[in-house]
């Protein structure tokens, strides 16, 4: 029990973080059919944005916490306007692959910009709770509780937004049938812009949370992004609830594998499981032939 506890806590915490990362990825894939390879860089920048305000400029924490949301949303919007929109307009048929390459370039440029500005040495994120909670012999750091709580609130908020609001319904409509949405008066370009900004804002927040239990480094977002992608894939790309479920399950498996076999075997085992699942079900666990649905 004294060993299982921390592994469980770590697994659930990283599961929550992966789940948050998959939300942004799934939204963008679902609405535009776009794999945003710069998503990881948005995580990184979110972490550094909060760090800049809180530690370097001494801003109060409520301001510093908003910085990743704003910066992430802005960069997300710029990525749409400068990269995705022209690619979509020019060659819609090869958009799916072209945009992966283009955003891959954006990701490297952004990551390198962070490296040039802040240097490669790791920083600690100052916005974090200290202390821990003790429940049934298990120590749970307050920061981990906070992370899970924030993720749950954000997930509920996103779900409410998509299901109940006019803008959210328009996003789902665009994802399910773009042309029909246009005929009903939905300005699809603006919906895409909103989706990328929303996804960027969530990514920024996710980056802040990740950095609060690890450290800030220019490659902060790369690992969560790749794993989040893998989780989206296993659930079927664009399947939001499926991806969130997969994130928690796979994060727990990874945590136990890392504990039992050593940290270096966590990711390989994860990938092996994912590949086996995909051989069994090529469209993902919950996927259908056309998985671009929200």
């Amino acid at each position: 029990m004294e060993i299982l506890g921390p592994v469980l806590v770590a697994g659930i915490t990283t599961g929550a973080l992966y789940a948050l990362a998959t939300i942004g990825l799934s939204l963008v894939w679902g609405a535009l059919g776009m794999l945003n390879m710069a998503h990881g860089a948005l995580l990184t920048i979110g972490g550094y944005a909060a760090f800049t305000l809180a530690t370097l400029m001494g801003a109060p924490w409520p301001v510093a916490v908003l910085a990743p949301v704003v910066v992430g949303a802005l960069i997300g919007a710029v990525i749409y306007l400068l990269v995705a929109q022209p690619l979509l307009a020019r060659a819609p048929r090869s958009f799916e692959t072209n945009v992966i390459i283009a955003t891959f370039g954006v990701a490297m440029a952004l990551e390198n910009a962070v490296l040039l500005i802040f240097g490669g040495q790791p920083f600690g994120q100052s916005i974090a709770l200290t202390g821990h909670l003790q429940a049934g012999g298990i120590f749970i750091p307050w920061q981990n509780v906070l992370i899970v709580a924030v993720v749950l609130v954000l997930m509920a908020g996103t779900a409410f937004f998509l299901a109940r609001t006019r803008a959210g319904r328009a996003i789902r409509a665009t994802a399910q049938h773009r042309e029909a949405a246009q005929l009903l008066g939905v300005p699809v370009g603006r919906v895409y812009l909103q989706v990328l900004a929303l996804s960027g804002g969530i990514a920024g927040t996710c980056g802040l949370l990740v950095s609060s239990i690890t450290q800030l480094s220019p490659t902060l977002g790369a690992d969560p992004m790749l794993k989040a992608f893998i989780m989206c894939v296993v659930a079927g790309l664009g399947n939001l609830p499926g991806a969130i479920g997969a994130a928690f399950v796979l994060a727990l498996i990874e945590a136990f594998a890392s504990y039992a076999l050593g940290a270096r075997w966590g990711f390989p085992l994860l990938l092996a499981i994912v590949i086996l699942v995909l051989i069994w079900r090529p469209d993902g666990l919950f996927g259908r032939a056309a998985v671009r649905r929200l």
């Binding site: 022209p86 992966i100 390459i101 490297m108 990551e111 040039l116 893998i230 894939v233 270096r264």
Partner: protein
């Protein structure tokens, strides 16, 4: 022989002449070294281009294949004292087998899934190598991991050119690399114009239609994935033998990105695109180094994004459309240039 083939051949002969003349023109060892590097990049990029630009396989695991060939060559030399000339082809065959395992696991899936899974495979390979800390053999007082760990392998043998040509060995190595490059291009050309190559292009242009006409997408793509892995692995082996070193750095994302940038800038789906792209990007890389090496990755990233958005058909596509616009009357000449590159 079709007009397209004639164009490819003419361009190929020009490249051959340029490659042959280069050692007499460029006497600096540094320049020759950079050209060798550019040729390695062009080889890997040409196979990525064959996969993506012609066969429609979006692999982000090409550097994993390159690294497999390089590491296998180095390890055969290091642990078993094999000659590089034996180790390289064996390693290349090993790379094909490795690629078939990856292909069997990933290629059944659709475009974006393939990209993510192959990227993940490369990333896992990188992580397993750099986090390897278990001692496999002791080398003097230092511990040596089976995979070489974060340091990699060095001093596992060379191409034998140093013993024969002494100071001019770089020229000999250059000739070997250039030969492999031409061989790779010949192979790529043969694949493109074979019935199989035409099937690939049918698959790429219209997946549904080609499948309906009886082309098995999966086995066709697996075949080209395996074939291209041979040359990618062989290039990796030659890379290790030429530099007499190999490390996990070849698996880094920035290396993969450099390869993709080459293909994109040159022109995806153009036979000679990777060579044109390699020349341009190695020159750009040199220029960025002058400005300050720190901006190298930043510049590369922006180049990829900008090239993809502004000239999706690359430099070759740009030249083609410029020629087509300049000479609307002379349709034949435009067509010749169009098919020639």
């Amino acid at each position: 022989m079709s007009r397209a083939d004639r164009g490819h051949l003419v361009f190929g002969l020009i490249v051959l002449a340029a490659l042959a003349a280069l050692p007499f023109v460029a006497d600096s060892r540094y320049v020759l070294g950079q050209v060798i590097l550019a040729l390695f990049y062009a080889i890997v990029a040409s196979q990525w281009n064959l996969l993506f630009g012609f066969a429609g396989v979006f692999s982000l695991g090409q550097m994993a294949l390159f690294a497999f060939g390089g590491y296998a060559t180095a390890m055969l030399g290091f642990y078993l004292d094999w000659s590089m000339w034996v180790a390289m082809p064996v390693a290349a065959v090993g790379t094909v087998l490795f690629s078939l395992v990856i292909g069997l696991a990933c290629l059944r899936l659709a475009g974006a899934y393939v990209a993510l899974l192959t990227l993940a495979v490369a990333q896992v390979m990188y992580l397993l190598i750099v986090t390897d800390t278990d001692c496999f053999v002791m080398q003097g007082a230092t511990c040596r991991q089976f995979t070489g760990g974060a340091v990699g392998f060095a001093r596992f043998g060379d191409l034998g050119t140093r013993a024969i040509f002494k100071g001019d060995y770089v020229v000999a190595n250059y000739a070997i690399v250039a030969a492999l490059f031409l061989l790779t291009m010949g192979f790529t050309w043969a694949v493109i114009r074979s019935p199989l190559g035409l099937a690939f292009q049918a698959l790429r242009d219209n997946p549904g239609c080609a499948v309906a006409r009886g082309i098995n997408r999966f086995s066709t793509q697996l075949l080209v994935f395996g074939a291209s892995a041979f040359f990618t692995g062989l290039a990796g082996g030659l890379y290790a033998a030429h530099f007499q070193a190999i490390g996990p750095g070849v698996l880094s994302l920035s290396t993969l990105m450099f390869i993709i940038a080459i293909a994109v800038v040159g022109g995806i789906g153009k036979l000679w695109g990777p060579l044109v792209g390699a020349v341009i990007l190695v020159l750009a890389d040199e220029a960025l180094r002058e400005v300050g090496g720190d901006y190298r990755t930043l510049g590369l990233g922006l180049i990829i994004a900008a090239a993809m958005v502004l000239m999706p058909k690359g430099v070759i596509g740009l030249v083609e459309s410029m020629v087509a616009r300049l000479r609307p009357a002379s349709g034949r000449a435009a067509e010749f240039v169009k098919s020639g590159t």
